[in-house]
């Protein structure tokens, strides 16, 4: 249940395994302006159901800040960068 009904167009980025599952590396999505990080995840999975398989090993980044999936409320700005972040393996 969204807190208000305004929407914003955001850029969603997919990396590594999540880009393979989504079949894309980048797309524009129209999303509610206010939503929890879990609702944000559900909106993304609704579009790419195969991402459900990596739930539990994924976090999001919103405005290049890590956000775990949960009840924290986000406020998305126009053009916000949202990223699906599978487990890291740099180094």
């Amino acid at each position: 249940m969204y807190l208000n009904t305004r929407t914003q167009i955001v850029t969603v980025l997919y990396f590594a395994k999540s880009s393979e599952l989504a079949g894309t590396r980048q797309e524009l999505l129209t999303l509610p302006e206010q939503l929890t990080s879990l609702e944000l995840w559900h909106a993304i999975v609704q579009r790419h159901p195969r991402l459900e398989s990596i739930r539990g090993q994924t976090v999001l980044a919103v405005g290049q800040q890590y956000v775990e999936l949960g009840q924290q409320v986000m406020c998305l700005r126009h053009g916000e960068e949202v990223a699906v972040v599978p487990p890291l393996s740099g180094g």
């Binding site: 590594a16 090993q57 980044a61 972040v85 487990p87 890291l88 393996s89 740099g90 180094g91």
Partner: protein, 156 residues
């Protein structure tokens, strides 16, 4: 000049080219720092008996740069005597036995340099959005997961 006043710069780069260890040392060297510690991460040729032919790295580049700068700042906070820091990570295809990451830390004395270097590679693996795919000889491949990453299923 007191140890805590050593001037230091952060040299953070992501690159598709081969990494140069001498360049990392030169970047961090200063006349007041007597010790440079380095870590070089290389591609290994096997994983649990599977023959690895190459690695492929990708990054969320702008965020990776920002996170690398953050961990430099955290290292300076923990080891104030640290001078120059270089974090160089390679992207794209990395052949076997070539470097994927080079970390160099200068300090007036070696203890701080050693400790900061270990901290930087541990923290880079935990927080910098870079991913590595191992490609095996029969063409299979696997996205790796650092055990240092808190949302990895292999996390301890």
């Amino acid at each position: 000049m007191a140890a805590s006043e050593v001037p230091g710069a952060d040299h953070v780069t992501l690159s598709h080219e081969q990494l140069n260890v001498n360049a990392a040392v030169e970047a961090v060297t200063s006349p007041s720092c007597g010790a440079v510690s380095l870590f070089v991460g290389m591609t290994r040729d096997n994983f649990e008996g599977h023959r690895v032919v190459r690695l492929e790295y990708e990054a969320y580049e702008s965020m990776a740069q920002a996170e690398m700068k953050k961990i430099c700042a955290r290292a300076r906070c923990l080891w104030p005597s640290v001078g120059g820091i270089a974090l160089h990570h390679r992207l794209g295809v990395v052949p076997i036995a070539e470097a994927s990451v080079v970390i160099a830390v200068a300090a007036p004395h070696r203890q701080a340099a050693f400790e900061a270097t270990a901290f930087l590679i541990d923290t880079l693996k935990a927080t910098v959005p870079i991913w590595k795919k191992e490609v095996y000889e029969k063409g299979q491949c696997m996205w790796k997961e650092n055990k240092e990453c808190s949302w990895s299923k292999t996390q301890e």
